[in-house]
Symmetry: C2
Subunit: 634 residues, 2 copies
Amino acid sequence: MSSFKITFMPDNVVADASSGETIIDVANRANLHINASCGGAGVCGRCRVVLAGGEVESEPGVYLSSEEYGQGVRLACLSYVVGNATINIPPESRADATVYATAQAEEETSVETLDPMAKDIEVELTAPSAADNLGDYDRLMASLTTAHGLENPEMELAALLEMPEALRDGDFSAWVTLFEDPTRPGRKVIGIRSAKAPKQVYALAVDIGTTTVWGRLVNLETGESRHSHGDLNGQISFGEDVISRIVFAAKGDGLARLKDKVIANINNLIDLMEKDVPGCRESLALVVTAGNTTMSHLLTGLNPKSIRLSPYVPAAADWPVLKAADLGIKVKGSVPLLIYPSVSSYVGGDIVAGVLASGLYQRPELTLFIDVGTNGEIVVGNQDWMTCAACSAGPAFEGGGVKFGMRAAPGAIDQFYFDPVTRTHRLTTIGEEKAIGICGSGLINIVAELFMAGVLDPQGKYVKEKAPELIRDDEDGQEYVLCPAAETGIDRDIVLTEIDVDNLIRAKGAMYSGYQTLLESVGLTMGDLEKVIIGGGFGKSLNLRNAITIGLLPELPVEKFSYIGNSSLTGATLAALSGSLWQKAGEIKANMTNFELSETPGYMDYYMASQFLPHTRSDLFPETMAARAKGAGK
Amino acid sequence: MSSFKITFMPDNVVADASSGETIIDVANRANLHINASCGGAGVCGRCRVVLAGGEVESEPGVYLSSEEYGQGVRLACLSYVVGNATINIPPESRADATVYATAQAEEETSVETLDPMAKDIEVELTAPSAADNLGDYDRLMASLTTAHGLENPEMELAALLEMPEALRDGDFSAWVTLFEDPTRPGRKVIGIRSAKAPKQVYALAVDIGTTTVWGRLVNLETGESRHSHGDLNGQISFGEDVISRIVFAAKGDGLARLKDKVIANINNLIDLMEKDVPGCRESLALVVTAGNTTMSHLLTGLNPKSIRLSPYVPAAADWPVLKAADLGIKVKGSVPLLIYPSVSSYVGGDIVAGVLASGLYQRPELTLFIDVGTNGEIVVGNQDWMTCAACSAGPAFEGGGVKFGMRAAPGAIDQFYFDPVTRTHRLTTIGEEKAIGICGSGLINIVAELFMAGVLDPQGKYVKEKAPELIRDDEDGQEYVLCPAAETGIDRDIVLTEIDVDNLIRAKGAMYSGYQTLLESVGLTMGDLEKVIIGGGFGKSLNLRNAITIGLLPELPVEKFSYIGNSSLTGATLAALSGSLWQKAGEIKANMTNFELSETPGYMDYYMASQFLPHTRSDLFPETMAARAKGAGK
């Protein structure tokens, strides 16, 4: 078989390929994950790519119009390598890992200047003698003052204890790790290593999500990421959302237990990183965390109870510089811990980190930044101003309040496509296990498909004649059978009820009316938006078209949207790499105007008007309505 | 019985007394302890006091000449209350606790301005509301910045964690405990308490001696001492002197074990203080320690091995500000720990603290400050300059290198008096137990008495005919029987050999030649000394006249001498009470010129000349020699 080069855009990744391989397989091998809900059977239409150059041999498949085919659109699973080619992967076809990899790539390139708060300097001392018998510490301090211009730096115990050996091993030359908080005068000596040892300083960036905790190890000398890893937040067994965690924290030793869980998460991350990068634990000089306001409280053991008591103030929105070891994180006692500042009780450090990662704060374009979740956060602004709000969308996006709802975990129905011809559907589950429920992104996909096919009407009610075999009455209206009991892993029919759909409509409406309210507060409308950035963990699995279809995202040209994956982790990484970006994060927090939507005039009206698929005002979703008219009429 | 007032000078303590009571009992009741080695039998002559006014009824006793009696000298144990009286207690009659109490009294009065590094300020915040929903931390920081002029203070985790409750309990008014290191910009918030709680801030001053660890609790609001307590340094079982500790630290987990012991000492002190002053542990805001260079290393867990390896530099002479809890001291995690700076490997923080306590650094008089011990430290100077040296006196002062030598502990012979008429002696032991050995001060007292009686000649050899019943031959010369086996607690004759005496002569000679060398280095002689201050733990039990007699102290008028008791603890207390005095301590360390005696020309000559009782040059001890000529001729 001949070998060809397939170039994937926009990542500009070139992969070797043999003739006859599918494009989706080549992309997978190159670590570019394309949505392929049907596992490559050519029937879900989720793996649309655009042939931008060269050639592939393709079957059109049922989901491509001849017009689209003419424009170069192909299904990656039905396209075979026949020569060199350039393939464009549009955002809506990217699966989790793709988006995540993109976020990583963005992060690698977005630090223009590597100016970490922790860094090594080389110090060369005169060795002591009978005539010059200064103590080691005194000698080092004298050199730092005179030769390095540091006025009376503080020194941490851990550094003090490693000083004598380090100095002698290096013949009185040493790497001195300094920490500088750009918001305060003075520096701290946090580590001392022999000059014979490699110059090696790492930082750990952590995104503490309510559901998952992600960590990334970064080399502060080179700026490169060495390891990243995610895991379910260990607090999950004590409650799935922040409110239930706050309630749990108030009981007995609940606060300590929650704190212990997240600290265990972080220690586990470091254990894994140490395996991958031996010695990184000892070389760790900085930890930066980003999380929502409640997660940051629980990390430090600070009781978050005031967050849910009027007037809903957190114990801390901004945070002092702490020591990671003081919280139980198993690193050297001197390692500083920076916690991303929150804007308010419900717009947390993860959002500030996300805004930093998104670049919103430094661009002229009017940008909407959103993080979809039980607590959805919205930022509208540009380089000149920023407003933000949290909207209590309810748990539908995380599978809550939905009869068969569940978190995005193996067995969750995530992809769904309805065939209007056969009036049946196909679906896939996470991990390709037997279905046991519906995750948030699955819910959006199902409702969008059913709505586009006319199976759901704009009020979220089922139109029985559109799928007579699958729609049946239940006690509160009708329900749609997604999976008969025999095919599930739970021995029950998995259905989607009209109440479930209502809950989703309420959730997406809360988000959409939030965008409208924030825009209105500055005299703008949806049409003024120049960019929409989707951050946060949930965003990774969001299908762009379907999210627009249900009215969760505004109907705007696709090119205005971008996913930035785990923007909280990216923001934490950026701060780890750059003291000036950390300062910038503080400015973002300080400059962001927080709106309490429930107290903002107009929000309730917007909210009421949003309780439709996609919206009461169909003029806001003209293309969606037109496409539906075409599809639903089939 | 009538009641009278007895006034004790120089303490100016007035005690009620009944007629017929002995002066020594009245003094004891007033917590002024007068030496009374013989337990008040009127035979040791150690309880000399001076009747300065009023009257007492006295028996002259065998130790007072009629001339002395005419000058008002009385034995306190043989003087009975008959009316009001004023009694002067000379320094040589003060026993341990007296000197200690004096040191305490001095310390109480010597802080002219109470300006502790840790203090409470009252902060009044606006309570949060829907319109003003700053987080607690943000709110507090804003107030500290705007209302209290503190620029971006750091906050310790412990303070952060107590903040929300404290603010709410106090209706958003709170005591905020701030720590300010006078040598660095910025302040740290180390504690937050409800404004409804009492304003209460304590500090712990600790003297870490090689043999004993003393602590004192001081109230930083009032400056008063609340509790002081001493205990044997738990490291003692791993070696009695610093060198053996350094050796032990180098073996296996020796360093950690030594550290644990001294930390346990400090924790025990705090436990005792907490019983005495409930709540003091939680209100502790500062720990200041003073110890010799090795003790400071062991406190922090820093290996002191370089101290005894050429070129004899410590790992740290100066110290960074550490956290007490980081070392295992059971106080709040935020409590700063300040360690007194050393001058060199052998002139430690205890000496810098002692110099601060002595006031030497701020007076015009040429002053000799000494701390007698295995490692004897000497400071000569005044407000304009200071020189110091350590001299390796050997362990004789601590009972080492002496056949029956022991530490000052129950059963140690401490007081001794020789009756030239009967050619017998009387002696007392610590705790009035059966004799088991001879402590350092006992050794000095015995040698001085025997020398003055002519039983020892200036070369330190016994003159058999002066005490024929008690002097006998041994394998290396002669020995003096202090206690026959039947009267001891060890079933052996306790003797003092000529080798023991030689060791003491070497030890005192090392000290004396040190004074001479330091004085010579600045072109002065012993006669120029205007003041001699005896600090340190051993000084407390030193008999002034006997110390002069053997040539340990220079022969100068008694009024030039003063004891300041545990000067290291006093210095630590002063620093706890005053940031400017702590800064002064740093200046003392920086301005003190350290002499390595072994490398200083002339020292060996002075040393050789000192190997006599009291000295080869009898012109340096004219009165001693004259008195001896009179006594030894009896």
